[in-house]
């Protein structure tokens, strides 16, 4: 009897060890996947302007974490970070634009900052934006984005505005800022934001103002400028 009991005990121990091993292997293998999912979800809490940057940065950090627990802790930390960063962004003062002038029309390729890169070939319209403090910024907005926003919400009269800092002949950085309210006043942050894309320009429309460009763009800009003038 004693021998049988020993054998059963040993079998249970071996079986238990195997089950634990299988479970732990499973956890070890699944943790990076789970952590990536958590980070991806965390990034969705961030303003659009910050998503690309932090997704790549946090995934790179995850890559450097050794072990299951550090990976999990990092991904949970990203959720906390995302909440903090998002609430700080929302509380930042934004300054209404004084004047928007048509400036350039450019065909522009964005290379998104993903691990999986892709190229978005699109038309950007560059406008010069004068801030209340007299500073000038260049901004661009993408017509397709405007149309898409408008299809979701008919009351939107302005597109997301992408101010362009250090606009040069060959390359520039894009910094998404924010949407306008439905009374068509674009709110613009004074701080340069994070780069979300880079690329090269084909200044085929150099010195061509938007009044000679597409009518929807012209109308859109006219509305904003009129509204601001009235304001």
């Amino acid at each position: 009897m004693g021998l049988i009991a020993d054998i059963v005990e040993a079998a249970v121990a071996i079986g238990g060890a195997v089950v634990v091993k299988v479970i732990s292997t499973d956890i070890t293998e699944q943790t990076p996947v789970f952590a990536r999912k958590l980070i991806t979800r965390a990034v969705r809490r961030l303003p659009i302007a910050l998503r690309e940057r932090y997704l790549e940065e946090w995934l790179a950090h995850l890559d450097e974490c050794k072990g299951t627990i550090p990976k999990l802790l990092h991904s949970l930390g990203c959720i906390v970070s995302a909440s903090k960063l998002a609430s700080r962004e929302q509380s930042q003062p934004r300054i209404p634009v004084f004047l928007i002038e048509p400036w350039r029309e450019a065909k522009f390729k964005i290379i998104e900052n993903h691990g999986n890169r892709f190229v978005l070939d699109t038309d950007f319209h560059i406008v010069k934006v004068r801030l209340p403090d007299g500073q000038t910024r260049f901004a661009s907005f993408e017509e397709r984005q405007f149309r898409r926003l408008k299809s979701y919400n008919k009351s939107i009269k302005a597109a997301i505005c992408y101010p362009v800092f250090d606009a040069g002949e060959d390359s520039f950085d894009l910094h998404p800022l924010g949407t306008s309210s439905n009374d068509a006043v674009i709110m613009l942050s004074i701080h340069p934001r994070y780069m979300v894309g880079s690329g090269t320009t084909d200044w085929s429309g150099y010195r061509r103002t938007l009044s000679q460009g597409r009518s929807s763009v012209r109308n859109y800009l006219s509305r904003i400028i009129c509204t601001l003038d009235e304001g």
Partner: protein, 100 residues
């Protein structure tokens, strides 16, 4: 802009101050200071907004190295001045902080 500095913030600043020329990734900073991601990235983001640190992407192609690029943080001259000021206020030299 007034930036409040907590203990994790001071630990992070001290580390950046000790490595003014080399960029440190978030993971490196986190490992060295034991500051978790949930605290570290909002701190770095805030400091970047006020010009205490700058950051730049690692100069590699993700498709070539098979992983996402790291972002490296470096303390600016303004950040160094502020860090020294904060550490002096605590009456400790940058190299001799003893955090519990």
């Amino acid at each position: 802009m007034d930036v409040r500095l907590s203990a994790p913030g001071l630990r992070t600043l001290r580390l950046l101050l000790e490595h003014p020329l080399e960029g440190l990734s978030g993971a490196q900073i986190s490992r060295a200071t034991k500051v978790g991601s949930g605290t570290l990235y909002p701190l770095l983001g805030r400091w970047e907004a006020v010009g205490w640190v700058t950051s730049e992407w690692e100069n590699v192609d993700p498709s070539e190295v098979g992983r996402p690029r790291r972002r490296f943080y470096k303390i600016t001259a303004l950040g160094q001045a502020k860090a020294r000021e904060a550490l002096t206020d605590l009456q400790v030299s940058p190299g001799t902080l003893a955090w519990a």
